[in-house]
């Protein structure tokens, strides 16, 4: 059994070298990703505190956050170098979050008139 294990082990070592699936990410890539994330954090704070973007404020902030999220997932979480199935899983969860919040907002919109017409006291005491 031990020899078989050793053989399997050896063959897998070979597989690692061939496919590079489990190769460690280079340090410069990790550090540069972190630098980009810090830069984007600075940018979003700068835009939010120094400018009045009005209606664009939320989309811009969410856009920057999404770029950061993609960087974290693609590089720090190895999704860019991992089995595509893991990306499919997490993207699937985002799809359902989108449906959940989207439908909830649509439903909320349907009752906008009725809710706005009532006072907060009514809403809170029920």
């Amino acid at each position: 059994m031990t020899t078989t294990d050793a053989a399997t082990h050896a063959s897998h070592e070979g597989a690692h070298d061939d496919h590079g699936e489990h190769h460690a990410l280079p340090l410069w890539l990790l550090v540069m990703t972190w630098g980009a994330l810090m830069g984007l954090t600075g940018l979003t704070v700068f835009l939010a505190t120094q400018f009045h973007l009005g209606a664009f404020e939320l989309p811009v902030a969410m856009g920057i956050a999404t770029v950061k999220a993609v960087l974290v997932m693609f590089i720090f979480m190895h999704l860019g170098f991992d089995k595509p199935f893991h990306s499919l899983l997490i993207l699937g969860s985002f799809l359902f979050v989108f449906l959940f919040i989207g439908f909830a907002m649509m439903d909320r919109g349907q009752y906008d008139g009725q809710i706005s017409a009532r006072t907060d006291v009514d809403l809170y005491t029920e």
């Binding site: 082990h9 972190w34 505190t49 979050v97 909830a104 907002m105």
Partner: protein
């Protein structure tokens, strides 16, 4: 027969897996499935946020001034750095660099404590202003809090809004002035008689969401500390090898997700103008 499935030379390879690759892949699928449930778990709070902000955007704009952008930004940087050290730790484990692995795991834990420390400062500040999660908040929101408290709230929010009238206030709060400098918002007073009472009444909605979202996120950070202490202990014992580093990878993935959620929480709560 049972011995035939054992792996005596690999102490951490469970008998029901063919080899380390098999075990690693199974664990990786498991952690990703868990992260999916985490995303869905948090989505309920994001949904509540979206609906209440859609209903009362002015309340979010107003109440957000009670949050200090400076602390939020610092905490974002602390978490991003801890994500770097966590990703680096995975690399160390893959390459069998024990000392660096221990150092990076320890740094990640230190950052997690730093994050919670800053959260403690922020929460304490709010408790000081009588802003509590839950029903107690209503007392303060109804305006029945004592006058000095009202002055203090007005002072802090006023300073955040960039007003200069607070110069006579206590110096300990002076650093808040740096949070929003150059802002030409009108002075906002929480005890302002001109404020729409309905806005005041709705403030508890914002702080309820604030406490739920940051609180749940904070619980995840605390759990991350436990996980990383466990990893640190195992790294000390030299458990991890280039062919057995799954737990480090899974722990780091969890930590990155906690970071990911904060990446969205920070602009949603702190950066509202």
């Amino acid at each position: 027969m049972s011995d035939a499935h054992g792996h005596p030379d690999k102490p951490f390879l469970q008998h029901h897996f063919e080899d380390e690759e098999h075990q690693f892949d199974a664990g990786k699928l498991g952690i990703w499935a868990f992260l999916v449930t985490e995303v869905l778990f948090f989505s309920g709070l994001f949904c509540a946020y979206a609906i209440y902000r859609g209903m009362h955007p002015e309340v979010f704009t107003y109440a957000s001034r009670a949050l200090d952008t400076k602390w939020g930004a610092i905490n974002t940087c602390v978490l991003l750095f801890s994500s770097l050290t966590a990703a680096w730790a995975v690399r160390n484990a893959q390459l069998g660099q024990k000392k660096l692995l221990v150092a990076n795991l320890a740094l990640t834990i230190a950052c997690a404590f730093g994050f919670m420390g800053i959260k403690y400062v922020e929460y304490t500040h709010k408790f000081h202003l009588n802003i509590y999660p839950g029903v107690e908040a209503s007392e303060y929101l109804e305006g029945s809090f004592p006058a000095p408290k009202a002055e203090k709230v007005a002072y802090d929010v006023g300073v955040q809004a960039g007003a200069g009238e607070a110069a006579e206030g206590d110096h300990a709060e002076g650093d808040h002035a740096n949070g929003d400098h150059g802002d030409d918002h009108a002075l906002v007073k929480w005890n302002d008689p001109n404020i729409d009472p309905r806005v005041k009444d709705r403030l508890k909605t914002f702080f309820g969401i604030y406490y739920c979202m940051t609180g749940l996120h904070g619980i995840h950070v605390l759990l991350g500390i436990v996980v990383f202490f466990w990893l640190l202990l195992r790294a000390f014992k030299s458990h991890f090898t280039p062919t057995y580093y799954g737990p480090v990878d899974y722990g780091a993935l969890y930590w990155h997700l906690v970071d990911l959620i904060w990446i969205y929480l920070f602009p949603l709560l702190y950066l509202i103008n």
